[in-house]
Amino acid sequence: MEFTRRDTLGLALGAAALTVLPYRVHAAGEEAIQAFTGGAELKEGGVQLTAPEIAENGNTVPIEVSAPGASAIMVLALGNPTPGVATFNFGPLAASQAASTRIRLAGTQDVVAIAKLEDGSFAKASSTVKVTIGGCGG
């Protein structure tokens, strides 16, 4: 064994995170969406979610949301034990309805942004972020 204990732990943790793939959509995620939208229909378009396709570090994944005219945008990481990430509320004087933050992802999963638009309708955008061991790029 020439691997240090730390490396072995690192590998083992990676393994733990990856063996339980793919993460199921947590029931809590559905509940949070229900609470936010009151069960309203979610249309595509009107909200933009920017996230990396593959996370460079699953512990701190930069994401950005924007929805012109929205009064609130909710962000969920559906595969996390606690899916709720944040809800950004925008007052009537907000110059733009956009926000960026960094989130922690337990494994490969869908990140979802739901915006409450000016007319009271709801829009959804979703993006799969992969969390990987990596190491074999050409």
Partner: protein
Amino acid sequence: MFQIGKLNQMISRRDFLQVSMAASALVGASGFGNWARLAAQQALTQDQLLEFDTFGNVTLIHVTDIHAQLKPIYFREPSVNLGVGPNKGEVPHITGEQFREFYGIKDGTPRHYALTYNDFSSLAQSYGRVGGLDRVSTVVNAIRADRPEALLLDGGDTWHGSYTCYHTEGQDMVNVMNALKPDAMTFHWEFTLGSDRVTELVEGLPFAALGQNIFDAEWDEPAELFKPYEWFERGGAKIAVIGQAFPYMPIANPGWMFPEYSFGIRDERMQELVNEVRAEGADLVVVLSHNGFDVDKKMAGVVEGIDVILSGHTHDALPEPVLVGKTHIIASGSNGKFVSRVDLDVQEGQMMGIRHKLIPIFSDVIMPDPAMTKLINEQRAPYEAELKEVLGQTDSLLYRRGNFNGTWDDLICDALLSEREADIAMSPGVRWGPSLIPGDDITREDVWNVTSMTYPNAYRTEMTGEFIKVILEDVADNIFNPDPYYQQGGDMVRIGGMGYKIDISKPQGERISNMVLLKNGESIDPAKNYVVAGWASVNEGTEGPPIWDVVESHIKKLGTVSVTTNNTVEVTGI
């Protein structure tokens, strides 16, 4: 054959004919075939290789993925290069006879040898080595004599991949490439020199260092050292060249060596930049990319307004551009084996026509540029004795490329199993590394050409059967995820001492089955520990001897290397 799409709006039928003629000029002009090998070589001339009917008002010259190969080498193209999802069976995922049929290449011709794998060893005897930057220089000079304002664009993976590049920390390549006078460059393996060295080298470059997707990791803002794009005025046209570095650097390579940087595809920023340069009056938008071919194809469909993508990373060599919407994608091979010449007719903010030729650098046909030969030899002189030391011989063709295995990695895995006394060996699915033909000496330089890197330590550790499966599933998804944006552009990790079955059409977690320990024929037990030896770990602090020492010791013990056909991976879902 040529994908037309919306192009007919911009390019006349006449231009199309010119495109296809240029693509077949090499075969058409030389006019031989039927395995007339010696005649073929005698008939092949530098003039034929360079023959090009100058077109339009702008010329681009593309080189990429040279991997520090200063001297001529052999390079066998893959026999297995599978596409998935929308790219199943599409270029560049065709090989061998299928490839030759698709492009109308006759058996036994120079293009057969240059572009496909069949009969490689025998054709290599006739056609000889390829590449060599002194030959590349001759080609570049000839194109510049024809079109003095031609832009030379380097797609990256230039400062990595050889004994001298490792020992000079990329300086040999910088010196030689600077003499070639590129106009811009983008990056991948360069970053494995570490961010301090990258900064030092990039700050000294007399040309543009580009990467719109190279970001400061802390602030998630564009990194100051790299410009997103550079402007050029050529042939009366205003040209924007946008750089796109390899998107998955900190994932596929050790991020701890360049923690200040973040990457990603960032196609939304690419669109913003295309819009920006168009608004500032760009007549032509070129992307110098290290995305890999399938990622470039997808990006061309997502981002509007790119005229030409010069594609690198996945080492594909294509004799014709591939058209996605209005974007032409050019793939120029690797290891100095090819140079692409792309002539464009650009008028009033529109690309009106294209003529393209993938020029194979046959080193026995193209005269070396003596000034460049001298410069290359100067870089190598301090190391000549070490480079030339003969470690053994090979009876077999040694090559790397292919999705699942190649004989070089079979040999490296054998070295790991025997020198490190392991049950199972792992060798990374990188795509660089030249070939050797049967009867060749194996020198230290040859071993370094397929192993050189800044994180070479050959580890030895225990892994459970379950964890080994997790690794295989993870790497398989990096190549066989049906969405190219989730692919990292490498091949499958090579495995020694263990066989397995893979269904490439399945999702992650379901592709790998039937894992068998070869030494006793027993199925791999998920709960049991196995001794695994491997190299190129991205983890900081990995311990073990450098892989080149392991391989060198193994070859010296063998004397003559013979690698038998590897049937340990069964592939389905093709």
